[in-house]
């Protein structure tokens, strides 16, 4: 199909990175949509875990929060939050952590804590929640966000979650044994870290996207792979699945009543 938005392309490209074998710790927002599109299309056996303790959940609509009741009702098991972080995450049982970000740098370090100085912030963001340990304990990390110069920056204001630090072997030097960020999916492109420097490099442009568009919306000088590819456009099945999911979600969240 050719009629799709950049956000839809981002979500669908992200969903394609997941398989039925994955055990995935799902961040709220864009990651949650991508993970559930994967589950509803090519990865029906994927295990989705939300930090509220719901393991193997299969919601019919996207949760507004990570603790919506439907996550529990459709889960294989629901465990207490300390158990979630100790046995399942810290225990090394989760293969992929899927995170969003307010700010990211070229090495996949994430800031969701503050814009400006921590003690006198210009904007106080929500903070890390589960992300600091998701970033270090999951086998690898996928990140998804929309490109903008204010969110893709040369230097982040606060290291909420550690990616590749200053690049190279920085993770190993800190004693972190997991791979860290291995995939960045934006509304314009797919990025992968350089095997040596760990700097995120564009490996695939979404249909209709130019190198200039990627550079204009990114705060650092972008590197492109020599064999740059074009991301296949969404299939009818992918797009229909995503739109149906969003529509069901919209209807469900309009429910309830104001206090």
């Amino acid at each position: 199909m050719t009629d799709f938005t950049p956000t839809e392309m981002m979500t669908i490209a992200a969903s394609r990175a997941l398989t039925s074998k994955d055990v995935c710790f799902v961040g709220i927002g864009a990651p949650s949509a991508a993970c559930n599109v994967a589950r509803l299309t090519h990865a029906p056996d994927i295990t989705l875990i939300y930090e509220s303790g719901t393991i193997g959940t299969a919601p019919d609509v996207l949760p507004l929060s990570i603790g919506d009741g439907e996550l529990c009702e459709t889960a294989v098991s629901t465990v207490a939050v300390p158990e979630m972080f100790r046995y399942w995450l810290q225990g090394g049982r989760i293969s992929i952590g899927f995170l969003g970000a307010a700010q990211i740098d070229k090495f996949g370090n994430i800031n969701t804590t503050v814009i400006g100085d921590y003690h006198k912030p210009k904007v106080r963001l929500p903070g890390g929640g589960g992300a600091p340990e998701i970033a270090s304990s999951c086998g690898e990390i996928y990140i998804t966000l929309k490109q903008a110069t204010r969110s893709m920056v040369e230097k982040i204001d606060f290291f909420t979650s550690f990616g590749h630090g200053e690049g190279g072997d920085h993770r190993e030097r800190l004693g972190i044994t997991t791979k860290g960020p291995t995939l960045l999916i934006t509304d314009l492109a797919i990025w992968k870290p350089d095997p040596v420097t760990k700097e995120f490099t564009v490996v695939s442009l979404h249909a209709g996207v130019t190198r200039e568009m990627v550079q204009e919306t990114c705060g650092w000088t972008v590197k492109f792979a020599d064999d740059l590819e074009e991301t296949p456009v969404p299939t009818t099945e992918e797009l229909t699945t995503l739109r149906d999911l969003n529509e069901r979600t919209k209807i469900a969240h309009a429910g309830g009543k104001a206090a």
Binding site: S52, L64, S65, G67, G69, P82, M84, R86, P132, T160
Partner: protein, 281 residues
């Protein structure tokens, strides 16, 4: 031991100004009615402990009752930012607050350590993160067996923990089902435990044997408040009022609108109004 009393009495007898208090419930079962009662009684200078401060602490902070907040995610879940908490941090309004910021893993571990009677929690965390630079409570220990460096933080030992639950039986045993969060740990870590419940039933015969979370002798007081988690939800009773979370984003964005909302919906209300609020959910 688990005496059943009205909520205003339970709050008055158990929470004092200056206390360290946890209100827990991970999106599910957030004890909002108890929070409103604390606001009505004007109990202040509180150190508020909670993984996700959420609307419940946004209201207390906005009313100037908090001097310190220990937390790990200061968002309105699924909606955005906590605007009253932001106003306190960014502008010192209505008063300055001290913040002690952790990750979720750290907070969960700290409650568990408190419940286990340990002085600190030890876990593999904060690797490469900046929080240890701004939170002096985050330190490290070396494993004496492997040499691995691990994060260490103080255990949570609240003076009081407030939780909401589906039901208690006549003896005062408390049952929780669904997303159980960190309430058992937060309750067992505290000196006093106040539980609001949807209902009290004669006994738990016929129910799943693992559902009882707190035996009656671990609970200080129980108050029946139907709908007491609203706009959070109670699994099996009523759904999350997502529209109310969205509305809060607007109410909390404006100081005057907030004041008026608190007057209308909290200060001049009673716990009984929560039963009305969940109708149709």
């Amino acid at each position: 031991m688990g005496k059943v009393i009205p909520l205003d009495q339970a709050v008055r007898e158990n929470l004092k100004s200056g206390d360290t208090v946890a209100f827990e419930g991970f999106t599910h079962l957030i004890p909002h009615a108890a929070g409103h009662e604390v606001i009505r009684q004007g109990i202040s200078d509180l150190t508020l402990v909670r993984m996700t401060p959420d609307i419940i602490y946004d209201q207390m902070i906005g009313m100037g009752l908090a001097k310190k907040v220990i937390f790990s995610y200061a968002g309105n879940p699924g909606v955005g930012l906590l605007r009253r908490m932001r106003d306190a941090i960014e502008n010192g309004y209505p008063r300055t607050i001290e913040t002690i910021e952790h990750s979720h893993a750290a907070m969960a571990n700290a409650y568990e350590a408190g419940a286990a009677g340990l002085p600190c929690a030890i876990f593999r965390g904060y690797k490469g993160a900046d929080l240890p630079k701004v939170n002096p409570d985050i330190k490290s220990v070396i494993c004496p067996f492997t040499g691995e460096e691990l994060a260490a933080i103080p255990a949570h030992r609240p003076d009081v923990t407030f939780i909401h639950a589906q039901k208690a039986n006549e003896k005062g045993d408390v049952l929780i089902e669904g997303i159980v969060g960190v309430q058992k740990e937060a309750a067992l870590a505290a000196k006093r435990v106040v539980v609001t419940v949807e209902e009290i039933v004669p006994d738990f015969k016929g129910l799943h044997p693992n559902l009882t979370v707190l035996p009656h002798w671990t609970v200080t007081a129980i108050s029946v408040v139907k709908g007491g988690a609203h706009p959070s939800y109670t699994h099996g009773y009523y759904a999350r009022d997502n529209a109310a979370y969205l509305e809060w984003d607007k109410v909390s964005a404006d100081r005057d609108l907030f004041d008026q909302w608190m007057k209308d919906n909290v200060l001049s209300a009673t716990p009984e109004v929560f039963a009305e609020r969940i109708k149709g959910l």
